[in-house]
């Protein structure tokens, strides 16, 4: 498990998106909150140290702005997390 600050922030963003997709029914998550969580990830310099992480996060942010389905946003965030993990192994 990748455990740096960026990975943790991406996981938080994923958890927010999943709570929309999975509908636990006990909270209301707005697109603004998800966008904020993704912007929090983009603020870290760590995302520039590994190729493609910033690009995937940017795509996820665009997907939220464009009102894309939660699963699409989640998939893009998982791609960012995966890239970060692979980068961390190199």
């Amino acid at each position: 498990m990748a455990g740096g600050p960026a990975a943790n922030r991406i996981r938080k963003a994923i958890a927010l998106v999943n709570s929309v997709a999975d509908e636990a029914g006990d909270e209301e998550v707005t697109p603004t909150e998800i966008a904020e969580a993704i912007r929090d990830c983009l603020e870290l310099s760590e995302v520039d140290e590994v190729p493609n992480v910033r690009r995937y996060l940017g795509e996820a942010l665009d997907a939220v702005s464009d009102g894309m389905p939660a699963d699409f946003v989640a998939m893009t965030l998982y791609a960012a997390l995966g890239a970060l993990r692979e980068g961390g192994q190199n």
Binding site: R11, N18, D26, D71, Y78
Partner: protein
């Protein structure tokens, strides 16, 4: 589906009595509390169909969407180099795909993270076949189903403790589908109530006594 009733002084005793009758282990069953008094607990224990019929043994109902999803996931697994069987869980709503095979732990990942990612990708791929709001659930080696059963048992234990002590209990942080399973398990209980506190991914369910109306 095989089921049996069990009685005992405690929940554990009642479940054990039913398990003995069914000759099953606890991980293979679903437990429903029928009645509970300080003296006796009555439960209904149902065996989960671990060998759910695969398309090879029993065709799934004619469902184009499910078959499309199954075929896409099979293709995805092939590209991933994972040897596994995909089957459509019969009688499930929403559409649920079961992936089974050997050594699929990597497909589940840390706290089910990889499984959840697989489900997200699957829903994006089959999105055009689905109606708005419709989703496909992906399960690997019944991990998700087992987790739901586990958290339901945790919910029942918490509810019993809340009834005995009158104090609220905060459970560990859980994923949305786990929290939903707890809310659903306790919604019919007249004595306890469940709510959630905290922010993702540390959001936790609190089980507490239900206050009488008007209080």
């Amino acid at each position: 589906m095989k089921s049996a009733e069990g009685r005992g002084r405690t929940l554990d005793e009642a479940v054990d009595a039913a398990l003995i009758e069914l000759q099953e282990s606890r991980r293979n069953v679903d437990v429903k509390i029928l009645s509970e008094t300080p003296e006796e607990t009555l439960v209904e224990v149902t065996v989960i169909d671990q060998n759910a019929p695969t398309p090879d043994t029993m065709p799934a109902p004619a469902n184009g969407k499910a078959e499309a999803a199954k075929s896409l996931v099979e293709g995805l697994l092939k590209h991933m180099g994972v040897r596994a069987q995909v089957s459509v869980r019969t009688g499930s709503d929403p559409i649920t795909l079961d992936i089974s095979g050997r050594d699929l732990g990597a497909l589940i990942g840390w706290r089910g993270e990889t499984l959840r990612a697989l489900q997200a990708v699957t829903n994006v791929m089959v999105g055009k076949h689905l109606a708005e709001g419709e989703r496909v659930i992906v399960d690997v080696e019944r991990y998700r189903q087992r987790r739901e059963h586990t958290v339901r048992e945790i919910a029942m234990r918490a509810a019993r403790q809340v009834k005995m002590t009158g104090d609220a209990i905060t459970l560990d942080a859980m994923q949305p589908f786990e929290r939903r399973a707890i809310h659903l398990a306790l919604e019919g209980d007249p004595d306890v109530t469940s709510s959630s506190i905290g922010e993702e991914p540390e959001r936790r369910v609190v089980v507490g006594p239900r206050k009488p109306a008007g209080e």
